[in-house]
C-alpha cells in the first residue's frame, strides 16, 4: 500500500473541511487496510444478529451491552475489563481501531466514546458505517477472526473531560450553559418518552432539560449514512442553534448512544473544545426527584 494511495482514499474526508479529519476514514480506506496488522476493524451494532450474519473481513465485534457496560452497575467497564477486552480483540495501545456499525454508526460512535474514557486516541470511525459498505457491494464474511492476545495496559478510566454526570448537568443548567438535546422533536417537547415508533417507557416525565436546544442527531448525516460536510454542520449547529466551539456544551438523548454521535460531530468534525456526553440522559433526568424540566 503506497502512501499516495492511502491519501487518495482519504481525500473525500479531507474535502469535507472537518476540524479533525484524522478521526474519519472512508470505506475505500478500510478496504485497503483489511490485512494491515496495525489496524483493527471493530463492528458495534444495536442488533446482535447483524455481526454474525456478515461483517467486514477481519472485523471483530464489540457489543455495547456485553463488552462496554458494567454487568451490574449502570456504568461502563472498568480498567481491568477494558484491558481484557483489548487483549481479546488483539489490540495494543499502538493499534489503530476503526469503528463502524448499524444505525448510522450510533453504536460505533458510542464505542469510540467509551474507548476515549480510557485514552485510546488512536481511533477512527468509518464514514457511512455498515450501510455504505454494503451499498457499495463490498465483501462481508461470517468468519469470526481470532487474533493473538495482546498486552494492553490501560490507564484508569478518566470520565471528566468527555462525560457529564447529573450533578454536572444541574450545575451546567444553573450556570446557563448550553445543552443539546439530540432526541426527536416529539421527545424534546415531552409528547413522547422515546423515538417515534418506539414504546413510551423509560422515564416518568416527558420534556427536556431546561435551556437545551433540540437538534436531532440525524441532521448530521446524509442519506448514504456519511457525515455532512463541515459547512453544512456549521450551518446547523453554529448559525441555526447559536452554539460556539469555544463554549462548554453537554449533549444528551435517552441513554447516551444517539448523543455520542452528536458528541463526535461537535468535538471532532466541528472542533468544539469542551463537549461532554451526559449518558444518564433522559432515562435518568426524566426520573430524577427534584430536578427541573421544560416542555
Amino acid at each position: 500500500m503506497t502512501q499516495r494511495t492511502v491519501e487518495k482514499s482519504l481525500e473525500p474526508i479531507l474535502a469535507k473541511g472537518y476540524a479533525h479529519p484524522e478521526v474519519l476514514v472512508t470505506t475505500e480506506w478500510v478496504a485497503e487496510h483489511l490485512d494491515d496488522p496495525n489496524v483493527r476493524i471493530i463492528e458495534s451494532n444495536e442488533d446482535p444478529l447483524v455481526y454474525p450474519s456478515g461483517h467486514i473481513p477481519g472485523a471483530v465485534e464489540v457489543d455495547w451491552v456485553r463488552d462496554l457496560n458494567h454487568p451490574i452497575i449502570r456504568d461502563y467497564l472498568d480498567r481491568e475489563a477494558f484491558e481484557r477486552l483489548m487483549r481479546r480483540i488483539g489490540v495494543t495501545p499502538e493499534t489503530t481501531v476503526v469503528f463502524y456499525g448499524d444505525k448510522n454508526n450510533w453504536w460505533a460512535t458510542y464505542a469510540f466514546w467509551v474507548f476515549q474514557l480510557f485514552g485510546h486516541t488512536n481511533a477512527k470511525i468509518m464514514d457511512g458505517g455498515r450501510q455504505k459498505w454494503i451499498a457499495e457491494g463490498r465483501p462481508l464474511t461470517r468468519e469470526v477472526p481470532k487474533y493473538p492476545p495482546t498486552e494492553y495496559r490501560a490507564p484508569e478510566r478518566n470520565d471528566r473531560p468527555i462525560r457529564a454526570f447529573r450533578d454536572d448537568v444541574l450545575a451546567h443548567v444553573r450556570a446557563g450553559k448550553r445543552l443539546v438535546d439530540v432526541r426527536s422533536p416529539e421527545e424534546y417537547r415531552g409528547e413522547r418518552l422515546h423515538m417515534p415508533g418506539y414504546p413510551n417507557e423509560g422515564a416518568l416525565r416527558g420534556g427536556h432539560i431546561p435551556g437545551a436546544v433540540n437538534i436531532p442527531w440525524s441532521r448530521a448525516v446524509n442519506e448514504d449514512g456519511t457525515f455532512k460536510p463541515a459547512e453544512e454542520l456549521r450551518a446547523i449547529y453554529l448559525q441555526e442553534a447559536g452554539l460556539r466551539p469555544d463554549e462548554d456544551v453537554i449533549v444528551y438523548c435517552r441513554i447516551g448512544e444517539r448523543s455520542s454521535h452528536t458528541w463526535f460531530v461537535l468535538k471532532y468534525l466541528l472542533g468544539f473544545e469542551n463537549v461532554r456526553n451526559y449518558d444518564g440522559s433522559w432515562t435518568e433526568w426524566g426520573n430524577l426527584v427534584g430536578v427541573p424540566i421544560e416542555r
Partner: protein, 166 residues
Amino acid sequence: MASENPALWPPKLREYLETLEWLQDPQERYAFLIELADAFRPVPPEIATPPYPKSNLVPHCESQAYVWAVEAPEGHAFRYYFAVENPQGLSAMAMAKILDDACSGAPAWQVAHLPDDLPQRIFGSRLSMGRTMGLEGMVAMVREPARQHLAACPVCQQALAEVQNA
C-alpha cells in the same frame, strides 16, 4: 386471547422455543436464528407483488415487514406469507420463518393464543425496544385473523374447550 399456556400454542412453535431454550450460548442461538433468516422465503407473486399494500405493513417495524393471512383449504386455519423489505432485517426474517413454520396450517384456536412476549422468548432480553415493537406487530398480525375466526367459529371453540378441559 394471547396465552402463557404452551399447551394452547401450535406444537411447532413449542418445538422452536424448546430448541432455543436449549441453545444457552448466545452465539449458537444467533447462528440458529441467522440460519432461519437465511431460509426465509418472501411472499410468492401469486399472493402479492411489490409495491405491497399499506394494509399488510406491520406497524412500527424498522425492517418494513408485511404479513398476509390467507384461509387454508383444510379450513379453520390460515396460511401466512411475509415480506421483509430491509435486507438487513434479519430478526424480522427469522421471526417470519418461525411464524410461517409454526402457524401456517395450524388450527386457528392455537394461533389465536400466541404469547405476547414471543419476540423475547425467541430473541432474548437483548432485543431493543424498537425491534421488539416491530416483532410484536408481526405476531399480532398473525394472531388477529385467527382470533377473529375463533370468536366466530363454534367448531374451533369446541376444540379449544376440549384442550382446556383435558
